[in-house]
Amino acid sequence: MKRYTTPAGPVDALAGVSLDVADGECVALVGESGSGKTTLLRCFNRLVEPDSGAIAVNDADVRRANEVELRRHIGYVMQEGGLMPHWTVRRNVELVPWLIGIPNADALVREAMALVGFTDGSFYGRYPRQLSGGQRQRVALARALAARPTVLLLDEPFGALDAITRADLQEMFMAVRKQRPVTCVLVTHDLFEAQRLADRIAVMRAGAIEQLAEPREIIGSPATTYVARLVEKAGLNRVDRHA
């Protein structure tokens, strides 16, 4: 639980929320802005510190871990990429291996870049501002994967892209997961994206989980009218009927 102070008084967010993500599984947190999905995501690497409750990653209580060490072993991708604008692609991607002090950072960089579809070295020397939005997000994903983390947190990773680039990157993400089994928590406001990429979906609303289930079940039997409306808005009920 995380207590926030608002002009209207203190508000408890994520009260009673419980979420278990299995090894290699991808869980999507879906909801409108303000639903608490990003806050929940940020609890996993202690960018947000809960006021009460427990969070464990790989069976270890995150509160006992050194926060800097913890973050170095959890991949993180954010909406605008968050690439260091003054660093080349290579330096961005090798950041976490370098922070950890892994000796063969160069090989890790090449491996991660290949995973996201950059097979030739021509991008390494470029600066983020010389890349397209889609390329930047690929580099951000490569950066998150470079140190071979077992857990990956993604905060609207494809949210700022146009529809076509977005579909491309979703494909790429599915391909990455096939090659590199990594436990993912994916925040998105797009239920369509969630059902495409995730093994399970947690629909969140006002700081609580409305329904947690596999995509098929969410679409087939929404637990609440809110979830049903969300399914309808994403056009998923129709897709299902035609299938």
Partner: protein, 517 residues
């Protein structure tokens, strides 16, 4: 603590010659004071002493503070100023009583010695144009009080503010002017002659009173105290150098009012250099050292140089001095700027980590910026004396704010997405600062340094008021002697220097901008 280190560094830098100490001869920034200072200096040199000249020190407060703490050894002062401005004593006294009183009080309170008076008085001379005097039949200040409500006065700021100046005078005579304007000493005679004002505060020995054919109104109620000129000598010289004191005392009683007026006229009307006026004066008193003096004096220009000629003279014929001053100016600005950057940037980085303290503390450095230059210099004399050290400290203080402000804002506002990502990927706070915030803020920080540098080059002209040299020197002298050309020969190079420094630092700003931005 850091400030202390900088002070120590600055002092170390400023230690020039080894201390087989020359006698430091100084003056206040007006013509007569320059002439007397130069006469003291040449006389001491003729008697075999090594002399260091510091003409044109700020004003009474600065010159006296410097004498008191031993930064200078002798300067010409007036008994009335000693009584009123320094002892704040308004008791009415005869000239002889006034001298005896300041001499004993200064020795008792400050350990400072008044040598016997030089032989003339230079009191305030409230002056009007001849036609004004005729029109209203003015002879005395009592006459003036009668018509003052229809007259405009232009007085030096000093005179307007001091209680022994306008406020006291107004009370003594019931004076109330239609308007009182503060005027620089350099322009008040021209302002009166051109009809811009009707009354000014001159000095009775000013060369310009005769030049403009002005009428000096008699102080018929004896408001102004006697202003006898005399050499004021530091405790150190009075104690350790009786021969120097004896040499200076050779001038006592030798310069009467007519002589001083003639010397002032040579300097202020005829445009003869201070050096030659002093040489000629000593020569005719039989105190000169060389026969060269007379020959030089005869070759002196017959009339005053035009502003353009004196500008060209200072820029071309005197280019060695120009180069020396420019170099000094650059050193003053650069040393203080580098010291300020070394303190301000780390300070601002600490503030970025203590956000709650940041804004108030940044504002405090901003407040330092609002202290007027001369005031800051005057505050520092009791601690640091005159010359390079206090000038460096003052410029250092003025450079802090732009650098602190820009560094703090630049680091605080560095690309928030990148900063967020840096945290999320496991950089330590120190790494976020060093690897992300600082490089992203570098252009903003450099812009602050650039602002500070340009302010610094401008402010460094004030350093001349405390004897630190630089391009302010000809400005101070030019203001004192109403020599526009001389003023420009300091102001123009200073402006050019500011521009060049700005261009050079714009280059640095581009160089520190990270490539990807």
């Amino acid at each position: 603590m850091k400030l202390l280190i900088v002070l120590v560094l600055a002092m170390a830098l400023a230690q020039d010659a080894p201390r087989a100490r020359p006698i430091v001869v100084a003056s206040k920034p007006f013509g007569e004071s320059y002439i007397l200072c130069e006469m003291f200096a040449q006389l001491l040199e003729a008697r075999g002493f090594r002399v260091d000249r510091r003409p044109g020190l700020g004003a009474t407060e600065i010159a006296f503070a410097a004498l008191r703490n031993g930064s200078i050894d002798v300067y010409p002062e007036y008994t009335g100023t000693g009584l009123l401005a320094i002892l704040a004593d308004t008791t009415r006294r005869t000239p002889a009583q006034a001298f005896t009183h300041v001499a004993s009080e200064f020795r008792r309170q400050f350990g400072v010695t008044w040598l016997p008076p030089l032989g003339f008085e230079n009191t305030y001379a409230i002056s009007v144009r001849r036609e004004t005097a005729t029109q209203y039949s003015l002879r005395t200040l009592t006459d003036l009080a009668r018509v003052a409500p229809s007259l405009r006065a232009g007085f030096t700021a000093d005179f307007i503010g001091r209680h022994d100046g306008l406020p006291g005078l107004a009370r003594a005579y019931g004076l109330g002017f239609r308007e009182v304007r503060p005027l620089l000493a350099a322009v008040k005679y021209q302002a009166l002659a051109s009809g811009g004002v009707d009354v000014i505060d001159g000095y009775s020995t000013d060369g310009l009173i005769a030049r403009y054919d002005l009428v000096v109104l008699a102080d018929d109620r004896g408001f102004f105290p006697p202003y006898q000129a005399a050499a004021l000598v530091s405790a150190a010289v009075a104690r350790d150098d009786p021969r120097a004191v004896a040499a200076l005392a050779e001038l006592s009683g030798r310069i009467d009012g007519a002589t001083m007026r003639a010397l002032n006229r040579k300097l202020e009307v005829d445009g003869v250099s201070v050096d030659m006026v002093a040489r000629g004066a000593l020569d005719s008193l039989g105190l000169g050292s060389t026969s060269r003096a007379t020959a030089d004096a005869q070759r002196a220009p017959a009339g005053r140089m035009s502003a353009w000629d004196s500008f060209v003279h200072a820029m071309v014929n005197d280019r060695a001095a120009l180069a020396r001053r420019t170099w000094r100016h650059l050193v003053l600005s650069a040393v203080s700027l580098v010291a300020a950057a070394l303190v301000a940037i780390p300070f601002a980085l600490v503030l970025e980590r203590r956000r709650r303290l940041a804004e108030p503390l940044v504002r405090v450095t901003g407040l330092l910026q609002t202290i007027p230059g001369i005031a800051l210099l005057a505050f520092m004399i009791p601690l640091l004396g005159i010359g390079i050290v206090p000038a460096l400290v003052a410029l250092f203080v003025y450079s802090l704010y732009p650098i602190v402000r820009n560094t703090y804002s630049g680091v605080r506002d560095a690309d928030p997405v990148a900063v967020n990502a840096a945290h999320a990927l496991g950089m330590t706070p120190a790494q976020v600062l060093r690897l992300v915030r600082l490089p992203l803020a570098a252009p903003t920080i450099m812009a602050g340094v650039r602002t500070a540098a340009v302010i610094n080059v401008g402010t460094a002209t004030l350093a001349a008021f405390i004897g630190a040299g630089g391009l302010g020197e000809p400005i101070v002298t030019g203001l004192a002697l109403s020599d526009t050309g001389l003023i420009l020969s300091g102001a123009v190079p200073a402006a050019v220097l500011a521009l060049l420094v700005d261009v050079a630092l714009a280059g640095c700003e581009r160089a520190v901008r990270p490539k990807g931005l």
